[in-house]
Symmetry: C2
């Protein structure tokens, strides 16, 4: 059993409205030490295969087909034994 920690984030140059909203709120609330904020999603995926290479294959397919929108998002993941 392996655990894939998957991170999905906007590609550089893609407008991130959630980040803009948070930045405005943070400034309004007086957090003057925060200079930038990026947002993204993460998924902890349990993959029931025998070896790490197979887990990587499943995670890559999952990211490309289901979890990310390849037009505007990039992904990365790390695989660990669980």
């Amino acid at each position: 059993m392996f655990l894939a920690k998957v991170y999905i984030y906007y590609k550089t140059g893609v407008l991130d409205p959630q980040s803009s909203a948070i930045k405005t709120t943070i400034a309004d609330c007086g957090f003057d030490k925060v200079s930038d904020i990026e947002t993204g999603k993460f998924y902890n995926v349990k993959i029931d295969v025998a070896d790490k290479a197979s887990a990587e294959k499943v995670a890559t397919e999952l990211c490309e087909k289901i979890l990310s929108n390849p037009v505007i998002e990039d992904y990365k993941f790390e695989i660990m034994e669980a």
Copy 2:
């Protein structure tokens, strides 16, 4: 300058509809090796302070006041020099 990597996730026992939807989709698409999936959000926050303790203080306040809903969500973060 410090970078806080903040992770927000549902507390145990809180219904995660996005995760349920993804699980159904994954099963329909034939990913029979995926046994579980948890979802969450992450934020990369740049904090412009002199030392790590101050960065931790800002990150904690930010998580509790803005980024998480303490009724249903937990947070964790790691601070690194940027």
